[in-house]
Symmetry: C2
Subunit: 209 residues, 2 copies
């Protein structure tokens, strides 16, 4: 159970493939985002210190900081996603033999479901942030690493879409209409932004290749 | 240098983020495909043996075999991508002090570029194969694991697009017009198929949720 970021890559993918529910899609979406952040960091580092990119050096230093911060956070979200899932399972297993126990279980479950929705919600937010970085890096980074910036944009889009799907699954069991409506509207707004940034990144890569 | 699939996940992502050119976008695209295959294998395993899915049990056993074969192959392609890159770098460093040496270097470089194009070319093919598996799994697999099938479809699409970008980068330096035209036309045909399968997977997930 759970997710350990120190596990060898091969074993991590094997754990995903197993019949254990974690690591599942939520953690894998976050890992994909972290891999995308790894690529944008690499493009920054292959740009910084190069004579022909002196003009954008300061900007690349800032983008590298943003990219590394997002990489760290997305790695942590991969772990948190599995923990949040386990809390939902615990709530589902709570006693429901009396009306009082049933009510308590219901409250605990609703809280666990909200917590479990917040993790992929943040993965969505960070994937959007990362697409902003990818678009900047594709526009101004070392032209020799353009395909890496492009792969980062494709992966960040997939991370966003995968995380969104995981939020929606949780929302479908959450009873507070207000909570659900707020999250849905934020996801919709993010989705437009993400698709726009993805398209822009690929257009600029096409132009610079 | 290179890619070791036994590296801890955290170190692997750190190596991507470093200023070393490998692991780069080609390897990361293949790893993303392998993660997607991990998710389709998980959905198969969460379907097999369940009473309400008896009807599709045989089909799920076959899909699991396909999925695990693709996972293995995509993991290997992540390693091969870095090796092929190193061979291109070696060719670029060959002597070109005499016309003969220059010609030999040119031949070696063209061969290395072709080899380096074939790796992401196969990653594209296997990502297409995987989207076929993801669509089947989304259509017939355990409904409780639908979001995992959806994340797999998003990731397989990103793996295809990322691999395609890596083929195209290599093709732009390959001189044989016939070789380049054949690969471009295959990529175009695969791309249509991949987008269609991705859309279909999400439609069926929407319907079943």
């Amino acid at each position: 159970m759970g997710v350990d970021i120190e596990t060898p890559l091969r074993s991590f993918i094997e754990d995903v493939a197993s019949n254990k529910p974690t690591p599942g899609g939520g953690s894998v979406a976050a890992v994909t985002g972290a891999l995308a952040a790894g690529l944008t960091s690499m493009v920054c580092r292959l740009t910084i210190g190069k004579k022909s990119y002196e003009e954008v050096e300061e900007e690349m230093e800032q983008l590298l900081k943003d990219s590394e911060r997002l990489r760290d956070r997305l790695q942590a979200l991969a772990v948190e996603d599995a923990q949040a899932y386990d809390t939902v399972i615990e709530a589902l297993r709570m006693d429901r033999s009396t009306p009082e126990a049933k009510e308590e279980r219901g409250r605990a479950l609703q809280q666990a479901l909200r917590d479990a929705a917040e993790v992929p919600m943040e993965t969505s937010e960070r994937s959007l942030d990362l697409l902003r970085v990818a678009q900047q890096v594709a526009t101004k980074g070392n032209v020799n690493a353009l395909s890496d910036a492009g792969v980062a944009a494709h992966l960040a889009l997939a991370a966003f879409r995968g995380a969104r799907l995981n939020v929606e699954i949780n929302l479908s069991s959450i009873k507070s209409a207000d909570y659900v409506a707020k999250r849905r509207s934020r996801l919709e707004a993010m989705s437009h932004e993400v698709e726009k940034l993805h398209t822009r990144s690929l257009t600029v890569i096409d132009e610079r290749l």
